[in-house]
Amino acid sequence: MAFWTILVKDLRLELRTRESLATMVVFAATIILLFAFAFSAAPAQLRSFAPGLIWITYFFTAVLGLLRSFGRENEQDAYDLLLTAPLDRGAIFLGKMAAFFILLLAAQLVSLPFFILFLDLPLWKAPTAFALILVITDLAIAAVGTLIAGMSLRSPAGETLLPILLFPLLTPILIAATEATDAVLAGQPLEEWDFWLMLLLTFFGVFVLAGTFIFDYISEQ
């Protein structure tokens, strides 16, 4: 219940201003354009770097999205509305996580054509496999990101603390996503790379559990 309320609220806030999505998409597009330029010298090698490029781009995108998601809570102390409400704080975490997951996925889907167009990546050759990786990785990113943002963005130096705490924790996720994407692009069957998916799912599961329980302790000032 509370979970849905918060999820819907975050999505509505986003639809109203469209700011996170705009930021994320434009940012992704800019990075992709840069990549296209940076690699114009060696288009042949591009393929081997593509998975890394994709996930680096999405990482930065995720940080920008998180900044907005919690920045909005602070503006008029609106977060206090959530904190004083009779609901499990774990639900705040889950709701904001779910909303962020949806936004991140949306931003990625919108920027995907740019990857395919400008970097000439044959992602459409294995759409389900890639979709699977995208969804599962985003779940993991959303879980870790929401937990970390929920605490760092409540403190004065929040915007700087966020990437610093987040990046090391996300590195294993990035690696798994990159390796899995690599395998997909190389045309390997699922059995060859399903352990990366398992790793990502484990990350997701562990952080959802941790977040649900810890969030109560880190929400209050």
Partner: protein
């Protein structure tokens, strides 16, 4: 409150720790067999691996006491967490130093983006973040809670990171993953003694750091709080 070394048991602990450390140094230098292909370089193993294991131990202390702090809100647990984190991170730094020292003659280069090395670096960076949130996360009462949460997150991250390594594409693995149990007794015994020595060092350092932490806490409380920054 007394200073740390004014307490009898701590003097004894320090004595034992120092003695064992010196004996350990002598054993490693004199007694441990020289591995043929690696010569003296291999002996750093007796530092490198115990340091790594003790790092995990220290970080476990951080997570457990951090959890206790969150639940009880008792600052005593926070001083334990902080002590564990500082000593653990010092040890982690030492892994990151002894590793490359060993690597330079063995691999011919001091660093490679290889799973175990990278994940160790990641762990180290997570704990740098831990200290940053303590420093910049708001007043002590809040930042210490955040730090406890980061400590817990870091520790549930450790097994994930470590197991991830075994799944890694084998062609990029260059860090050895030997089974300690299958080592010859001559190496295993020296290793175990060194491990014991480092556990003593860890315990001593954590106790000492915790004591200082408690003194600082009391002093600040008595003088009516710290300056806001």
């Amino acid at each position: 409150m007394k200073s740390f070394h004014a307490i009898r048991k701590n003097q004894v602990l320090l004595g034992i720790t120092l003695t064992v450390a010196l004996v350990n140094l002598w054993i490693i230098y004199q007694v441990a067999p020289v591995v043929v292909e690696q010569e003296m370089a291999q002996k750093i193993f007796y530092y490198h691996v115990p340091l790594a294991w003790n790092t995990f131990l220290a970080y476990l202390v951080v997570a457990i006491t951090g959890g206790a702090y969150l639940v009880t809100n008792d600052p005593k647990w926070d001083t334990w967490s902080l002590a564990g984190a500082e000593v653990g991170t010092l040890f982690a730094l030492l892994i990151l130093i002894t590793g490359p020292i060993w690597a330079t003659p063995i691999w011919g280069k001091s660093w490679s983006w290889e799973p175990r090395l990278t994940t160790t670096l990641v762990l180290f960076l997570i704990f740098l973040g831990y200290f940053m949130i303590r420093e910049f996360g708001g007043p002590y009462e809040r930042s210490s809670r955040y730090a406890a949460a980061v400590g817990i997150i870091a520790v549930i991250d450790i097994p994930l990171i470590l197991t991830a390594v075994t799944w890694w594409a084998p062609e990029v693995q260059s860090h050895p993953q030997m089974e300690m149990g299958s080592q010859p007794a001559s190496i295993l015994n020296v290793f175990l003694f060194s491990l014991f020595s480092f556990i003593l060092i860890l315990v001593y350092m954590i106790l000492y750091r915790r004591h200082v932490g408690e003194l600082t806490y009391r002093r600040l409380t008595q003088q009516g709080g710290a300056n806001h920054v």
